[in-house]
Amino acid sequence: METNSRPVVVKRAPDRLNARAARDFLRDVQAFLTSDRPQLVIDLSQVEQLDAAGIEMLLHCMAQAQKRDGDVKLAALSDHAAVMLELTRMERLFEIYETSTDAARSFSGFLPNAMRQQLLHHKRPDFPAAA
C-alpha cells in the first residue's frame, strides 16, 4: 500500500522544552511536518522541563500533521513530561508509547496498540466475554 512506504521520523526532544527550545525544535521538524501525510514520533525521555510553550508546540505539531492526514505520537515519557501532560490534559490527545520503536511500529498497524491489546484480551478463553 502506498501508506506503508511513508517514512516515520523519530525526534528526541531536548531536556528543556521551554519557549526557545520549542521554537528550535519546531524549526527542525517543520520541513517534515509540511510534507504529505507526515508521521512523527517525539521522544520525550530526556525532558526535564516542559512548560506551556512546549506543550503548545506539541499541539501545533499534531495540528500540522493532522491537517496533512498524518499523526504525531509521543514515546518514552519522562516523569516530568508525564506529569505535565497529565496536568494540562494533553495525555488524552496524544497516543503515548513506552518506547520510540513501539510508537514507530504503531504507524504500520491499522489499529492503535491499545485497541489491539483489548481485542487480544477478548479473544482469550480465560477472559469471559462481556454480557
Binding site: N4, R27, D28, V29, E56, L87
Partner: protein, 376 residues
C-alpha cells in the same frame, strides 16, 4: 501542677522519602492548621501551657516566618545549634517554675491523650516517661522539671538516650509519621474523613465541606465532599474540587481546573483548565504521589504564587533589603542566567517564526528516519 510544653521541629532529610522544597512538614498547613499548631492546641487543651516551639532554620531564601503560628512562642535555631536551643528552652521552662515539661519532637503527628500520659508519669513516680506506639518509641516525653541532667542527656543525644530509667506509655490512638508529602496528604484525608480528633479550620457549610472565613467560591464552581477551602482562597468558575482535596489559605484555583485528591499549599495559584490529581502542589513544585516524583514547575501560568498583601510585601522587602543591596553592588559579576524563561511568548510569534522561517526540505542532522516496511 505547672505543666509546660516544648515542641521541637527539625528538618529530617532522609533519602527514602519524596523530597520537598522545605523539609519540616509540620509547618505546612493541613486543612487550615499546621500539625505544629494542632499539637500545640492539643497540649493547651490538656492544661499544658505555655507551649514553646524550637524550629530549625531551613534552606536559605525560604521564608519560614510566615509559616510559624503567631500564637506560639517560636524560637528559630540553626541546624548545628538545634539541640542546644532545645536544651536552653527546657531550662528556661524549668527555671520559670514548671513541674513537668512535655517534650514533643515532630516528626510524627500523634494524638496523644496527654492527661493520661501525665497521670501515668506521676503514678509511676518516674523522672522521664516516653510514648511508644506498636513497640516503636516516639519522641514524645514527659520530663520532671527538676531533672535537668536527665533532660540534658536526652537533648545531647538527640532524644536517643536517657541517663536514668525511662518508663513507657502505650499510645493506641491516631498517628501519622509525617515523613514525606505522601503523609502530609494522608493527614489531610484523615482530617476530612474525621479519622482524627483534630478539626479543620473552617465551618462545615454542608456535610463534608468546610469553608474557612473569607473563602471565595465563584458561581459555577463545584465542591464535592469531603473538601476544605481555606481562608481567603479563591475557587473560580467551573473549577471542580473533589476527593478529599484541601485548598489552603490564599490559594487560587482558576477557571475550569479540576483538583482531585490534592493538597494545594498556601499562596499557590493553579492555572486555568488543568487537571491536578493525586498531588501536593505549591512552592513551585508538584509532588505527584501516584508516580512518586517531584516536578519543578517554572511556568507561572500553570503553577504560580499568589502575591502577598501590601503590608506583607513591605515587610518582605525590608527583610531582603540588605541582600538586594549586596546583589546590586557585587552580583553583576557572577550573575547566573535564569534556568528557564516563563512561557509568556505568544503562540503566534512562536508559530510564525517556525513556519515562516525556513522551508528547506533538508532535515536537521539529529533526525532519525525509519521506514515502516522493507529491509532497512
Amino acid at each position: 501542677m505547672d505543666m509546660r510544653g516544648l515542641i521541637l521541629v527539625s528538618a529530617d532529610d532522609r533519602e527514602d522519602r519524596l523530597p520537598f522544597v522545605a523539609p519540616p512538614l509540620p509547618l505546612f498547613d493541613v486543612a487550615g492548621y499546621s500539625p505544629l499548631l494542632r499539637m500545640a492546641k492539643r497540649l493547651e487543651s490538656s492544661g499544658v501551657s505555655p507551649v514553646v516551639a524550637v524550629v530549625e532554620e531551613g534552606q536559605p531564601g525560604f521564608s519560614r516566618a510566615q509559616m510559624l503560628p503567631p500564637s506560639i512562642d517560636c524560637r528559630p535555631a540553626t541546624p548545628n545549634g538545634f539541640w542546644r536551643a532545645a536544651e536552653n528552652a527546657f531550662n528556661d521552662l524549668a527555671a520559670s517554675g514548671a513541674d513537668l515539661v512535655l517534650v514533643v519532637r515532630m516528626g510524627a503527628y500523634a494524638e496523644i491523650d496527654f492527661e493520661k500520659f501525665v497521670h501515668s508519669h506521676l503514678g509511676r513516680n518516674c523522672r522521664v516517661s516516653r510514648v511508644i506506639h506498636e513497640a516503636e518509641t516516639l519522641d514524645i516525653l514527659c520530663i520532671s522539671g527538676s531533672r535537668r541532667n536527665d533532660a540534658a542527656s536526652l537533648f545531647r543525644s538527640g532524644l536517643a538516650r536517657c541517663r536514668s530509667e525511662c518508663e513507657y506509655f502505650v499510645h493506641q490512638g491516631y498517628i501519622n509519621p509525617l515523613n514525606d508529602a505522601r503523609d502530609l496528604r494522608q493527614l489531610a484525608i484523615d482530617i476530612l474523613t474525621l479519622k482524627t480528633e483534630t478539626p479543620t479550620a473552617g465551618r462545615e457549610i454542608r456535610p463534608g465541606v468546610w469553608f474557612a472565613p473569607g473563602a471565595c467560591i465563584e458561581k459555577g464552581a463545584r465542591i464535592l465532599a469531603p473538601a476544605f477551602i481555606g481562608a481567603s482562597a479563591v475557587v473560580r468558575n467551573a473549577a471542580v474540587i473533589t476527593r478529599c482535596s484541601t485548598i489552603e489559605h490564599h490559594a487560587h484555583v482558576d477557571c475550569g481546573t479540576v483538583v482531585e485528591n490534592c493538597t494545594v499549599l498556601p499562596h499557590t495559584s493553579i492555572g486555568a483548565c488543568l487537571d491536578l490529581t493525586h498531588s501536593v502542589a505549591g512552592a513551585g513544585q508538584i509532588v505527584h504521589l501516584r508516580r512518586g516524583v517531584v516536578v519543578d514547575v517554572h511556568d507561572q501560568k500553570l503553577l504560580g504564587r499568589v502575591s502577598l498583601g501590601v503590608g506583607a510585601r513591605l515587610a518582605d522587602a525590608a527583610v531582603n533589603l540588605p541582600q538586594r543591596i549586596w546583589r546590586g553592588l557585587f552580583g553583576g559579576l557572577d550573575r547566573e542566567e535564569p534556568a528557564a524563561s516563563p512561557a509568556l511568548t505568544p503562540s503566534s510569534e512562536l508559530l510564525h517564526e517556525a513556519c515562516g522561517g525556513e522551508t528547506s526540505a533538508e532535515l536537521a542532522p539529529n533526525l532519525v528516519i525509519a521506514r515502516r516496511y522493507g529491509d532497512q
